[in-house]
């Protein structure tokens, strides 16, 4: 990456973050409660939880798009607001949110224009990003001429155009079909390995979280709390065969169990273990 200044080891530090949605002084929803989380440089961290657990809100708080009610948010060694104003992260939403009046390449150039980068450099960088997501041949197309998966790849290229230290992804593949989603997962890993960007990834798909992450953060339903953290020690690089590893199934089961509150399903896990063991021996 291009930063030459001293880089703190933690890209994201959350301490005691609360978020309550209020109307006229009355608390309507306690969305997040007592969130402590530290994300190290180069990590791929997934936030997983039932819908309404505040994982997207947490992502928006990291991006300074929503203000926490209480707590401290440090991004890249400074306040979330300073990091946003310094354009130190890129964000990808569930929808591509491309500007339909701009060509694919012009969509990728948008953040570079906002930075005030010169034309020649803009074109070069956008070309580079489109190569990264393998869409060079579609640079001159308009968004409506692309499939959903391709549009989301343009959004990723746009988010990475400023070579940010942090990439925030809010259920980026939730609207895609299963086949496309798995392909996009591999794509994201390839990009992550190539760029070394720290990724915070919100999802409600357990297999997706396990496949992608170095760490999965499990959250509970309202108020959103971090209940568990699962280290994903699957070997890298990960590919199609990763999804067939015994360890992969174990981790999927572990995350699933913890999502359900833990403890009660020890025997289910044991049974699954047995099945997996038998399959492995055949």
């Amino acid at each position: 990456m291009s930063q030459t200044r001293e880089e703190p080891a933690s890209v994201v530090q959350l301490r005691g973050v609360d978020k309550a949605f209020t109307a006229g002084g009355e608390v309507l929803t306690a969305a997040l409660s007592g969130i402590d989380l530290e994300i190290r440089r180069g990590e791929f961290v997934s936030l997983i939880g039932p819908s309404g657990c505040g994982k997207s809100t947490l992502l928006r708080i990291i991006g300074d798009l929503t203000q926490p009610t209480a707590g401290e948010v440090i991004v890249n060694g400074k306040s979330a607001s300073a990091a946003r104003r310094g354009r130190e992260y890129g964000i990808v939403f569930q929808a591509p949110v491309l500007f339909d009046w701009r060509r694919v390449e012009d969509n990728v150039r948008l953040p570079l224009e906002l930075l005030g980068m010169g034309r020649a450099e803009r074109e070069e960088r956008a070309g580079e990003m489109l190569r990264l997501v393998d869409l060079t041949d579609f640079a001159r197309h308009y968004p409506y001429q692309l499939s959903g998966g391709m549009q989301q790849r343009v959004a990723i290229a746009r988010a990475l155009a400023l070579e940010p230290a942090l990439l925030l992804m809010d259920e980026p593949f939730g609207a895609l079909d299963e086949m496309t989603r798995e392909r996009m997962n591999s794509e994201v890993l390839r990009i992550w390995e190539k760029t070394g960007t720290t990724v915070v990834f919100v999802t409600h798909s357990i297999p997706e979280a396990v496949f992608l992450s170095s760490r999965v953060v499990v959250m509970s339903h309202r108020p959103g709390r971090i209940t568990h953290t699962v280290e994903i020690d699957l070997p890298r690089p990960r590919g199609l065969e990763t999804r067939e590893l015994r360890r992969y199934f174990e981790l999927v089961t572990e995350v699933r169990q913890q999502l359900r509150g833990g403890g009660a399903e020890e025997d289910v896990l044991a049974a699954l273990d047995q099945v997996a063991a038998e399959e492995g021996s055949v």
Binding site: R60, G63, D64, L65, R84, R85, G86, R87, Y89, G90, I91, F93, A95, V97, F99, D100, W101, R102, R103, L110, P111, E113, L114, L115, Y142, Y144, Q145, L162
Partner: protein, 287 residues
């Protein structure tokens, strides 16, 4: 990929339009054939069986009489034809309307921009914007003339008055049309309010703007025509309508010819906006 069949679609819409005009003309003459005044041409005479009041030669001249009137001198002892005269008047009116159209568009976009950025001002002033359109323009025009004098300026103000309203309403909608996530995206890039306006809100609002401009294009011409009377300008289609209205008994086809030219002027203005729209929005054929 866009198909190569676009010109065919345009051809079809032109054909539909021509067919519609022909149908109106045929209906027009059919009415006169069964209920108008007697037809006398080259020693041939036809007496319509019925008597329909509004199909008389005075109220509904023959189409060819109107067309023929265009070729005749506008008045005795003058050398220019009615067509030449009306085209000159149309150009004069078009100029007034164009000034009003541009002024109204700028005013409308300006008001919408203010309202979109301030809920308070929106709530305070949008009701007045709406109320302004409930006042009949014929009642307001004399007051505008009283304030700004009998000149082309007053006429242009009347045209502005009819133009700014659709633009304001459409642009409030259009400038608010971007996806909230697109605004989040701009915030994530620490985009300035100016950048958000020019790179997101404005381009997103263009389809709304052009819809309003199509209304405004014709409304501004109506405004200019109406404004010419009390505005006291001695040219233009509005003045011609007043003059030929006074001479209706002696030459009804002149007023009809003026109406025809006024309609063509409106259609031409609409078409100009449509061409501008096609050219501007060619990038995003989402509609």
């Amino acid at each position: 990929m866009p198909e190569a069949g676009v010109p065919r679609g345009r051809l079809r819409s032109v054909a539909t339009f021509v067919a519609f005009v022909l149908a109106v003309l045929v209906l027009w003459e059919l009415l006169k054939f069964i209920g108008g005044d007697p037809w006398r041409y080259f020693g041939w005479e036809w007496r319509p069986p019925l008597k329909i009041a509004f199909a008389s030669d005075l109220l509904l001249p023959h189409v060819w009489q109107i067309v023929a009137a265009l070729a005749e001198p506008v008045q005795r002892l003058r050398t220019d034809s009615l067509a030449q005269f009306l085209l000159g008047a149309a150009f004069y009116t078009w100029r007034e309307a164009a000034i009003g159209f541009v002024a109204g568009t700028i005013l409308g976009i300006g008001l919408a921009t203010i309202f979109v950025h301030s809920r308070l001002l929106e709530r305070a002033f949008v009701p007045y914007v709406i109320a302004s359109q409930t006042i009949p323009i014929v009642a307001l025009a004399p007051m505008i003339v009283f304030a700004f004098g009998t000149s082309i300026v007053s006429v242009a103000i009347v045209a502005t008055y009819l133009t700014f309203f659709p633009v304001t309403i459409a642009m409030i909608r259009g400038l608010r049309s971007p996806d909230p996530r697109a605004l989040d995206l701009m915030r994530s890039y620490a985009a300035s309010p100016g950048a958000i306006f020019w790179k997101l809100r404005m381009p997103a609002s263009l389809p709304y703007l052009f819809t309003a401009l199509k209304i405004s294009a014709t409304a501004s011409i109506v405004g200019a025509i109406i404004g010419e009377g009390p505005g006291g300008v001695n040219d233009g289609l509005g003045r011609s309508i007043i003059n030929f209205n006074n001479q209706y008994i002696s030459g009804p086809e002149k007023l009809w010819a003026t109406i025809l030219i006024a309609a063509l002027l409106g259609i031409a203005s609409y078409a100009l906006v449509q061409i501008a729209e096609r050219w501007t929005l060619r990038a995003a054929p989402t509609r």
